[in-house]
Structure formats: C-alpha cells, structure tokens
Amino acid sequence: MYGKKVKLRFLFLALILASVILTVFLILQSLRDNVVYFKSPSEIKSLIELDKKKIRVGGMVKEQSVSINSNEVSFIITDFKNEINVIYSGAVPNLFAEGKGVVVEGFLKDKNYFSATKILAKHDENYMPPEVKEAIGDK
C-alpha cells in the first residue's frame, strides 16, 4: 500500500523512538543507583533514618581535631552548629588542613561517626565548594 520509502522512514522513526526510550530508561535506572547526595553535619543530625548509601559530607575541619597514625587520619567536620567525627584511611590532599573547608565521601556509621573513603581535592586555596559555603552559612 505504501511506497518503499515511506515504509523505510517509518521503520527508522520506530527505531529511533525505541532507542531513545531505552536510553532514557537505562540512564534513569542507573542514576538512581549511582547518585551521591551531599549533606551537612546538621542535616545528618536531623536524619530520621540512617542511609546505607554512599554520601558526601562537607564543612570545616575543626581546629585541633586532626590526629594521625600510620593507618588512618581522624578529624571532626563542623558547620558551627553540629559536628561529626570522621575516620579516614587513604590519600590526604595537600589543601586539607584544620580550619579549612573540606568535602569527604563515604558511609555513615551512626549520626556521630562517618567512615570516609575519599577526601576530595581542590585546586585553589581560597576556593570553597558552594555546598560548603551554604552549609556553613555566613560565617
């Protein structure tokens, strides 16, 4: 009934539509599994349920809180309202220091303890991630 060209066009559109739907489905599916949320210490305190998923926590490294031995580094992250203890074994970036902003990635053990798998490095001494700025507020 239809010409060969029309059929071909139709087939093509169907293929494109099918692949777009498949792509969107795949992407949304794995977004759900692989997204890492960012929380401030205060947000963690107000959590009702502990999350088993990997999260990021950001704030200031509290003064006088860093201690180090051959296996791990521990310190306290504060947003000047609440704080959280962090235990970390892994590479420490150069810009990591007391009284500076920091973002760590890892898992919550409970509302006061965080086991970090990564400290995120930054380029610039003065640069502070927008999340941290927001978490700390105006201070």
């Binding site: 599994d33 692989n34 990021r56 051959s70 420490v92 150069n94 995120l120 380029h123 640069y127």
Partner: protein, 627 residues
Amino acid sequence: MLANQIGYYSLILGLLLSFLLCAVSIKDLNSSGKRINQNVLYLSFLQLIFVIVSFLSLILSFVNSDFSNETVFNNSHTSKPLFYKISGTWGNHEGSLLLWLLVLTLFIFLFLVKSRKQPKKYRILTLLFQQIIIIGFFLFVLITSNPFNYLFPVPVEGLGLNPILQDPALAIHPPILYLGYVGTSIIFSASLAAVTQNYVSKEWGQHIKKWVLVSWVFLTIGIMLGSIWAYYELGWGGFWFWDPVENVSLMPWLTLTALLHCIIVLESRASLTSWVVILSITTFTLSMCGTFLVRSGILNSVHTFANDPARGIFILIFLFVLIFLSLGVFFLFHKENNKKSNNFFWLSRETSILINNWFMMYFLSVVLIGTIYPIFLDVMSSEKISVGPPFYQKLIVPFLIPFLIFMSLGPRLKWIKSKIENKNSLIFTFLISVTLTFFIIKNLTTDLLFYTVLVSAAFFLFFITLRELFIKKLNNISQTVAHFGFSLLILSILFNNILSSEIITNIKIGEKYSYSKGEIFFKKIEEQKESNFNSIIGYFEIKNINGKIVKLKPEIRIYNQPMVVTSEADIKTTLLEDKFLVMNLVKGNEYFNIRYQTKPFMIWIWISVLLLSLGGLISLFKNKYEK
C-alpha cells in the same frame, strides 16, 4: 601601560571592523560580481591583526609584569619563570576569552582564503554567521571581562598564578584545545550558510571535511594534554575522572566524531544532509555550553576557579540567541534533496556509519545527563548530589562490546549494497581473539565472563585493523590507523584498570612499610629553594618481591605567591608500566601521607590517542594531495 591601551583600543577597533565587515559583505551579497569583493578579505585580515595586536599586548603586559593591568595583577608575579608568565596570559578567564576571539577571527580568515573555489554567496554568508559569533564574543570580552582593566594605584606585586597551572602540559593545553573547540564555530557558520544556499551536497561535504578534521585533531590532542596534566599534577593517579569539566570537552568530541563519519557518507553518497547540519549545530552549541558551564561557576568541579555570575548570564543569553538563530535558519531554509536515489540496503557502509552515530549519540546522552542532572536537581529541589564514575562506567563500558564489533566489521562493507567477504578469516581472527583473551584474563580478574567478552571485542578490532595495515593496499590508511589507535586505547585502558595496584599509607622518615608484593622505604627528605617555591624532596626506595629496587623522589612544593602547597608525583615510566609515587604533608605532623601506584600500559594510552589523531592528520593531508 602603553601596551594596555593599545590592547584595549585594538579590541574596540576589532569590534567596529565587525560591523563594517557585515555592512560591506551584505552589500557584496547583492552585487552581481562573480567574485567576492577583495575588501572583505582585507577587512577580515585587518580584524585578525587587531585581535593579534591585542593578544600580544596582553602577553607583553604579562612578560613585563605590568601590574597596572588588573588581569596581570590577579594572575602573575615577578618571581614567576618567563615561560609561565607567557602561559599565564591564557591561564585566566579574561585572557582565555581573548584567545577564543583570536581563534574565531583566525579561522574565518583562513576559511576565506581557503575557500576560493566555493560559491560566492556561500562564502559571504559563512562570514556573516561567523561575524555574529565574533561580535557576541567581542561584547562579552569588553563588557564583562575586559582583560585591560586599569588599576590605580599600581600595586607593587601581583597575586601570582595558581601553582597547579604552572606546568608545561597545561601551558599548551588551552591553545590546542581552543583550536579544536572554537574551530567548530566555522563548521557551524559554514553549515548554516550552506543550508540557506541549499548547498549541502557532495562538493560541500568534501570542502567542509577538512575543517571538521582540523577541529577534531586539535580537540583530540587538547583533551589528551589535559588528561596527561591531571594524571601527574593532581596526584590522584588516574587520567580521567568524569569530572564535569572533562565531560564538557568530551561532549563536543563525541558529536564531532559522529559528524566526521557522516561527512564521509555525505561526500560519497550525498545523503544524510539534515543530520550533518544538525550535528554541526549541536557540536558548536556544546562547545558554547561548555564555556558557559565552566565560566559561570555553576559546575561544582575541581577545575572551578573564581568566577562571576554576570558572565554566566551573558553567555547563556548569547547561547540561546545562537540556538534560536540556527534552528530558525534550519527550519526555514532546509529542503530535503528529493532527487537523490533512495536505494537503501541493510548491509552497507551507510548503515554501519549510522550505527556508529547511534552509539555516539547514546554516549553523548549519558555524559550530558550525568553532567547536567545535578545542576537540574539543585535548581528544582535544592538537593545537592554528584554523579560519580560508576554511573558512567556502568552505562558506557557494556556498550563498548557491540561498538567495537561493529567498528571491526563496518569499514569492510561497501557503499550501497555489500556482503561480508572473507568470512573464514574473520571467524579465524575472532577465535584467536577470544582464546588469547581467555588465557590472559583467566588469572587476573573475578569477573571472567564480562571481561573476556569485552577484551575479546577489543582484540578483534585490534587484529583486524593490524592485518589491514600490513596486508591491504593503502587506500584507506587514515581510517585504519585511527581505528587501530582506538582499539589500542581501549585495550590499554582495560588492562590498566584490571592490573593497577595501589598502596596508601602514612609513614615517618626512616620507616619501612611492607606489603604483600614488596617494601617501601622512606629514606630521608631534603629541602631545596627555588625562585618561586621551596620544595621538600622525599627519597623513597621501593623493593619488589624479586629484590629489585626502584628509587622514587616525589616532591612537595610550597609556593610563596600565592601560598599554595602542591605535590609533584614522581613517575618512572617504562613501556610496560608506570610506577607512580606521590606524597602529601599533613600539617603539624611528622607523618607523610604517601600513595604508591603501579599503572600498567599507561604510556600506551597516550600513544594510542596520538595514533587516533594521526589518522585524522593523514586523512587531512591525503585530501590535499589528491586535489
């Protein structure tokens, strides 16, 4: 001081020339003459000269450490080595935009010179579209990011360049990347001009292919340089982090690669016309988006430096103007060529190139959504999220298997209608790949099935292209070299991933750290003074199981202007393996934090990217030779 003013006024003159050029070329468009008015060419050259003068005067201000210039004050320092004073010119926002302008004007001038055989109206329209972009960027530079702002009183000393940018790879990375990035502007302008003239044809395909190749080669090498820099300077021991800024350079690369393949269909079969135009528009739009995302500070990335929202809004508006303009032109003028034959067969080279494009678009959507989604979610619900490497790996790696297999078979097909030849040798090659892979992979990883299939597919492409390099006549050498490079790239990345090992520990001077495969001995440290930094050099001896000792000397640099601490990894590179050691100082402690990595086949990743771009270069020069 003088340089400052010369630079500023050259920019204004350049902008005025843009308007003059538009007026002259519109007049020329309606004139009956067969050839383009020579004045257009002269004016375009003059505009290029003005931008060059402006750029040179900024370099001069940097070399002379003229701190009455705000840009120089913010990004330079007298104690910096000359090389980094010069590279500091484009290591900052204002200077890098001036570089954008330089490349924009350079490319349109070269285009006018090189396109003499093309129809007059098409050339003039390309110039006009390009001038719209150029005017936009002139305004952007002059209004929001003038590189020649005057400071009074003149400061005695500058603030210095971020030390992490003081690096040879990063000094040449921006110009090369920009040649690719901004080079896509000419493809954009030319395809819009071709659409209005209904000139999207075989001849146009042949002519624009050169420009696509040039951009593609520069973009490929530019991305590689950035990657090399990240590898040894950031000290994370990887070469690709799926960081938003990296993604933003990968996206135009994906569409440009798709475009490159489509152009081949266009120049030999005169089909896929609309798709070629859409890809050209998309590629440049993605480059602009990249600039917008990087420069606006919206992206939360390790590459984000200080920035200013006003700039973001300007680029965003400009971006929308360009998108509406191009879509308008496309829908108003584009006519599908109906006279072409509509023979279509499933087993043909066209189909295989369409499959390539399908994959490229898929990869693009993954990267695009992964990059944009966090911004989107932040705006919608103010939830902060980040999308990490697992997302990309999960969505991209499995699809490499069919991609590699199609890549091995596709180029062997002929145009229009074809059948697979030499079935036996193909099956033979495939069996060899699978067996070889199985025996290599067997002892290396737990996920045996998945990796065997993946690596086999890569080896399959590797052997097929290798065989063509040796046996076949050299009629399609550019494609074979590029595809061979790609298979090598995938193989090196895979083996690099599977075989890498890493030790992270905190260690004191004089201590030994033993692990299953050897021992790390921290012998001593030494301090050294350089003109713009002090360095602490660590002496390490690493003994492997066989008792062989490798000495590595990583460095911690404490820059004085600005006060920044950086780590310089020490890397011993051999053909088989990189040994990578980086140390960090933990403030106020006697412990040093070290990270020791062995990264197999690292150098082959760079070599294969070079092969990939070599393929592009061969194609470029072969084209020239044939004409």
